[in-house]
Amino acid sequence: MPTPKTEVHPLLSVKDLSVEFGFGDFAVRAVDGLSFDLHEKKTLAIVGESGSGKSISSLAVLGLLKHIGGNITSGALNFQSALLGQTVDLATAAEGTLRKIRGNEIAMIFQEPMTSLNPVFTIGSQMAETLALHQGLNTKDARKKALEFLDLVRLPNAKRLLDSYPHQLSGGMRQRVMIAMAICCQPKILIADEPTTALDVTIQAQILHIIRELQEELGTSVIFISHDMGVVSEMADDVLVMKASKFVESGSVRDVLGHPQKDYTRALLAAVPKIGSMTGTSAPKLFDIPGITAATGVTPNATVQSDEQPVLEIEDLTTRYDIRGGLLNRVTHRVHAAENVSFNIYPGETLALVGESGSGKSTVGKTIQQLVEPVSGAMRYHGQDIFALPKEERKAFQKQTQYVFQDPYGSLNPRKTVGESLVEPARVHGIVTTKAQAQDLAADLLKKVDLPTDYAKRYPHQFSGGQRQRLCIARALACNPSLIIADEAVSALDVSVQAQVVNLMMELQAKHKLSYLFITHDMAVVERISHRVAVMYLGQIVEIGTRQQIFENPQHSYTKRLLSAVPVLNPGHRPTRPPLEGEIPSATRAVGDEPALVNLRQVSEGHYVGA
């Protein structure tokens, strides 16, 4: 329980809240005896891993649980309503009362800016709807007020935005619209459920900055739900940790994140990759977290000698996507997803390819895996030019590289047993032909990723996200590849699980001398796992070098911007970074309008920077 600093009643006081889904023998308890106080003008962060009940608690505050089939089985949510001039128990209040409070005194920002705006209405009419409902404004006044709040969230050209449709805005702009909508009735409490998780780091920094400023201007209390400890450390006054629907600990942000009392909190914090924690070391390092993942005595490969022959040499790789349009359906625009990308990957090395969404990093991976045809460029595997080979032989090369996708829920066929899925690549390339061989291989692969061998008979839905990602890695190992392309492979996982999977990847690398192309936007994980880093911006590599060179001596302005936007886990520290304005420009260009190529110049041994 956070100790009330003053004798003033908290704005919202939650006592012994329990929420269940389902009935009778089949009831699942999603929140179990949760208590907290939210004080005026304070930010309370609720942190925990997926399934810990943090979102459910916030929906309970909004009285939206019935809508998704949940029941508040015990507890009280006492809210000091200025509107009704009394204390309202949100757990028992009538639906009509809740409707008056919801959106007016308690508002919410959701995680997915892409789906939480209605695509068929303009921004203006969606905002006006809220204002008309709660403040009884007519269309003209509502519009004026909407404009005011769009200005407040620092959206440029607010007037024009009012008549735009959601699809015309980028993710960051949509999230700002969502915030404007949430605050336009000047709520007492703003609930932000993972408001920046779906956004790029530089955009995330903008949004966090806006929320902080608005809170100061309007005096709103914020319940901030997040799994990202860095973000929490920057945003929160008080922190509440949840695990498996239960309360773990709470207190001021300095106490909880700085001097955690409970083992779980300590483990959770240890699993968070901290940017800058590896300064001075050249080799990657395993996570060592008691209770979650222990170092196994395997040392990750040290930095690789570059006089060895590379596994893969990529030279001037260019991949573009055509956009057709016009009367004759001709190519009018092209997405310049990858332009003149060149790099080498050495045996046993991890090259991290980092960049924000739309930078073309996945396209590079997909081109190497031959899922996408390049426009030009060469790819040499142990000196052999792959793109010059006839089609059949190129297919055979696919077994040398394997792809691990981001979504552990989507990349295994739900209708196949895990055993079948695991050995399929080996079957395709004729490595395994009989049933007995397939079973042996499946068992062997499961052992490699530390899963029990009898899991082969199960179906993907019986596994957790982390286990599924292990399965995907196991499948990637089926053909004994020399290179694994991991496309955001750990981004969708909870931190503790992420630490385990990253450790597993490093162990496998050391044991089998694997090379990784690690595609990600998460700079903190990159610092842990990679030997070398390539930074991509608008389809081109703007900086490439060893991990130390990039993290300790970034040269390109975009690299610097990317690194400074990463939230730092340093409780009590409020970032002073200037809010970065603007969006990443689009890589879509009209035909004939070729982008200027970045010339890389050498700064030091192996460190190249674009002008």
Binding site: G69, L371, Q398, Q406, S411, N413, P414, K416, P425, V428
Partner: protein, 291 residues
């Protein structure tokens, strides 16, 4: 994160009550369908004469009056119960085979069109649009007028006109499935397209297909009845539900049972299949599992 395997200590009856089978839709639907299938399979044993025995002395016997003719007789004195049970053969034959044929043809076309896109897709789908624009009855009358009536022709006609809806449905699923990561993953390790289509995409597109199939079986039984009613279906000697309705039409004011009982048979069959289809749809819908 943790495996929660709840120990089942419930009695079999309680387990049944909580199982997916304890639903009105499944129990009623399964009962009706099973009864029909059993009756049709054993119709030869129950009524060896096939309901074609004419007994002019007993013509238009009222139902529930005589033990020989529990549901009465038609204008030729044929037992209506026997004719209904024998007539079920034609109805089920047409209903099942036309739907099966259409589902196979439509699925294969839809899978390829959706997976390969491009020219095949454009061609097939425009052809499908044309097909959809043709009224079925008009098509049926024209074709039957040229090639003559018959059960086999009706089945072929139905397949030819109904593959379109399956093709469209499957194509829609394929369009989203082909972008799913497990399909991308299969492509990434070099699985041939034909295998991706049949072993990765098809199983995941089955849900809606099965539902449309059960609905279509029911629909086609009705359609067969109307075609026979119009004289385009089975030959008049063989009992069929549609044919019985057609024969009884002129007697509807004096002998209601001649039309009403075959009508009830059609209704119960369609009801049974629709209930099963409904149940299946709920079961296969991931959201339905949270109930």
């Amino acid at each position: 994160m943790t495996d929660t395997t709840t120990q089942t200590t419930l009695s079999w009856f309680k387990r049944f009550l909580y199982s997916r089978y304890a639903s009105f839709e499944f129990l009623t639907g399964a009962f009706l369908t099973a009864t029909l299938v059993l009756l049709v399979i054993f119709s030869g044993l129950i009524f060896p004469d096939g309901g074609t025995k004419v007994n002019i002395m007993a013509r238009l016997t009222e139902p529930f009056q005589s033990a020989d003719f529990p549901l009465g007789t038609d204008p030729l004195g044929r037992d209506i119960l026997a004719r209904i049970i024998h007539g079920g053969r034609i109805s089920l034959l047409v209903g099942l085979f036309s739907a099966l044929g259409a589902v196979i043809l439509g699925t294969v076309i839809g899978l390829f069109a959706g997976y390969y896109r491009g020219f095949i897709d454009a061609f097939v789908m425009r052809f499908a649009d044309i097909q959809l624009a043709l009224p079925f009855i008009l098509l049926a009358i024209t074709v039957i007028a040229i090639v003559g009536p018959g059960v086999d022709r009706i089945i072929i006609l139905m397949i030819v006109s109904q593959w379109v809806q399956y093709a469209r449905l499957v194509r829609g699923s394929v369009l989203s499935l082909r972008e799913r990561e497990f399909v991308q993953a299969a492509r990434s390790y070099g699985l041939p397209n034909i295998k991706i289509i049949f072993s990765h995409i098809l199983p995941n597109a089955m849900g809606p297909l099965i539902i449309l199939l059960t609905l279509n079986v029911a629909n086609n039984i009705l359609l067969e009845s109307s075609l026979t009613f119009l004289g385009l279906g089975a030959d008049p000697q063989t009992p069929s539900w549609g044919g019985m309705l057609s024969e009884g039409r002129s007697y509807i004011q004096t002998a209601w049972w001649v039309t009403v009982f075959p009508g009830i048979a059609i209704m119960l069959t369609v009801l049974g299949l629709n209930l099963l289809g409904d149940w299946l749809r709920d079961e296969l819908d991931p959201l339905g599992q949270t109930r």
